[in-house]
């Protein structure tokens, strides 16, 4: 599924990193404390502040708008129910991302189990492959690169996809990613390098194919 063709009306075209200014971080502590005491208005403010970031993380993981909407709701519900156990060792958004990632993984697992859906996806993939062949015949421009990267991203294993999303879409450091994914920095680095190498190899093979086509 290609986001540009399906969701273009819903993109707002601003860098994701600008959505949350760093000045709000202190305020989070107060809102979390109030939410822990059952203050739903305080929690609503936290939802308002982080829903776009969480939604985009989940959306990039799942690549389906409706599913991302549902899983974002589940993420915040799980956060509300888990607030009593949140001790503030990590920043609130870090903790929230961890929940969002786990909810997304759970959803991906459910998808895997749903054999009927898997068959449907296989059929879609066959259609997409046919489209790919047609597209390879055309000249590659910058926009096509982006579309291809998005498609390749959706086919990467979840552990590679998440590091690319956190690094390049949410502009996180290795340390922040390690905290969210509860992995050593070395593992984060390995996953990130392998993920980018996979994307690079796919781009290179496409270039090779298009060159051969041109020469032929």
């Amino acid at each position: 599924m290609r986001e540009h063709s399906l969701q273009s009306s819903q993109t707002i075209g601003i860098p994701l990193t600008n959505v949350v200014p760093s000045a709000v971080e202190q305020d989070d502590i107060l809102l979390v404390a109030a939410s822990k005491n059952g203050d739903q208005e305080a929690f609503a403010q936290l939802v308002q502040r982080y829903q776009r970031l969480v939604f985009n993380l989940v959306y990039r993981m799942l690549q389906q708008y409706e599913e991302a909407t549902e899983i974002t709701q589940e993420t915040f519900l799980a956060a509300w129910q888990g607030l009593p156990s949140f001790r503030g060792d990590a920043r609130f958004p870090t903790w929230l991302y961890r929940i969002a990632y786990n909810c997304s993984l759970k959803q991906l697992e459910l998808r895997k189990r749903d054999r009927a859906l898997q068959v449907a996806l296989e059929e879609n993939k066959t259609l997409e492959n046919a489209n790919d062949e047609q597209r390879e015949n055309a000249e590659l421009d910058a926009r096509e690169h982006q579309i291809l990267i998005q498609e390749h991203l959706s086919h990467l294993p979840a552990k590679y996809r998440i590091v690319l999303i956190l690094r390049h879409l949410q502009d996180m450091t290795y340390e922040e990613m390690a905290e969210i994914l509860t992995m050593p920095i070395g593992t984060i680095k390995t996953h990130l390098f392998r993920a980018r190498n996979l994307l690079k190899e796919r781009l290179q093979s496409l270039h090779r194919d298009s060159d051969m086509e041109y020469k032929g």
Partner: protein, 186 residues
């Protein structure tokens, strides 16, 4: 610097994870090596493409939907009694207590031989008493291995039931589905 070493550092270079000295060495190598420069260029393209992904706007009513679910969860938490609270008792607890009290009362009454002989049941000659005596007799005569096996199966079944009762409906449904999938019949 060799190409292999340079290639390993290209991604760290893009992520600003190299020291100034490492950057200088790598850039000196890149200035003289087209293959590594080409590799860097492809990585830059990948990163640039990833970073130009647009933010997708969430549905307008997402906040409202989330808070509706939060409100339901909060009201359930406030109204539903704790699973282990003693008061007020649940319907199930009242039923269990009433059953136990009835059994205890009947037992006490039946202990009195004068009362027992007046009743049409449990006087040693009626159907209920004979069934009870037959079961007792069978248990006394059964061999110990069979008895232990029977008790073990009964204990396991009771354990599974208790676990499922306390695990909640979601786990119960998942367990039931998993069991059905494993059954050889459809």
């Amino acid at each position: 610097m060799r190409c292999k070493e340079a290639s390993q550092q290209l991604q760290l270079y893009l992520d600003n994870r190299l020291t100034i000295q490492q950057i200088r060495t790598l850039e000196a190598h890149l200035a003289s090596c087209n293959a590594c420069l080409e590799e860097l260029s492809i990585f830059e393209t990948v990163v640039k493409d990833l970073e130009t992904f647009k933010v997708v706007a969430e549905p307008d009513d997402l906040n409202e939907k989330i808070m509706r679910r939060v409100a339901i969860a909060a009201s359930q938490r406030n109204t539903s009694p704790s699973r282990f609270s003693l008061w007020p008792p649940s319907l199930l607890e009242i039923l269990v207590a009433a059953t136990l009290a009835t059994i205890a009362t009947i037992g006490t009454i039946l202990q009195q031989s004068s009362i027992r002989s007046m009743l049409p049941i449990a006087n040693g000659h009626d159907g209920l008493s004979l069934t009870y005596l037959n079961i007792l007799h069978a248990l006394m005569n059964v061999d110990s291995t069979t008895l232990i096996l029977a008790l073990w199966i009964a204990g396991t079944l009771i354990g599974v039931c208790i676990t499922l009762i306390f695990a909640g409906s979601e786990i119960r449904t998942q367990w039931f589905k998993a069991m059905m999938e494993r059954l050889p019949v459809r």
